[in-house]
């Protein structure tokens, strides 16, 4: 095996996918498993979620988002299409650039949501940051809607990422 540019492009893609699975896996865990089952958990067991599960899950979740974004942008640069992709193919007229570019922008919006909406509000919800009793439901609502927005965006984003590999 030769360790040329082709190998390192693959290697960065592997890191991108590893981080992406961690990120979207936890996103789907929150939305498909945790949120729907919380109402069925006995009251005495409920504190385990904000005290023990959420801080760890959110740690991997937000840093996996950063890793996915960095390795994804690095990969696009190594492949030579970062500019055309960020211009969603308008500069090249390429279907691949348009598709991967739309997927990239969705990923960028999702990572922004993680760091600037979900994480700051979840810190209030799970008690890592002090907030008033009035603010807590508002923070929970903002975090929940941003999380659902990311779940919605993950569907076309993954379609874009995977289909662009076959163009």
């Amino acid at each position: 095996m030769e360790y040329g540019m082709e190998y390192w492009t693959f290697f960065v893609r592997w890191l991108h996918v590893l981080c992406g699975v961690m990120w979207i896996g936890l996103l789907w865990y929150f939305n498909f498993v945790q949120t729907p089952t919380v109402p069925t958990i006995p009251d005495e067991l409920k504190p385990a979620i904000p005290k023990h599960i959420m801080p760890v899950a959110l740690l991997y979740f937000r840093w996996a988002a950063v890793g996915t974004l960095i390795f994804g942008l690095l990969l696009a640069w190594m492949n030579g299409y970062i500019g055309d992709a960020l211009a969603i193919g308008l500069t090249s007229g390429s279907a691949r650039d348009a598709t991967i570019g739309i997927g990239m922008w969705m990923g960028i919006i999702m990572a922004f949501n993680v760091w600037y909406i979900i994480w700051p509000n979840q810190q209030k919800v799970i008690g890592l940051v002090e907030c008033s009793a009035d603010d807590k439901p508002k923070a929970a609502r903002a975090a929940a809607l941003a999380s659902r927005t990311n779940t919605m965006l993950s569907i076309p984003m993954l379609y874009a990422m995977v289909s662009a590999q076959n163009m």
Binding site: N31, G93, A95, T99, L145, T151, M152, I155, P156
Partner: protein, 31 residues
């Protein structure tokens, strides 16, 4: 009508609709 993102089903349906819109948009850009 409520916010479709309040339910998981609504979220998935919105995601699928957005997927179709995205494919049409990408094809229009490439045409």
């Amino acid at each position: 009508m409520g916010n479709p993102l309040d339910s998981l089903k609504g979220t998935i349906i919105c995601g699928l609709i957005l997927t179709v819109v995205m494919v049409v948009l990408a094809n229009a850009i490439a045409a």
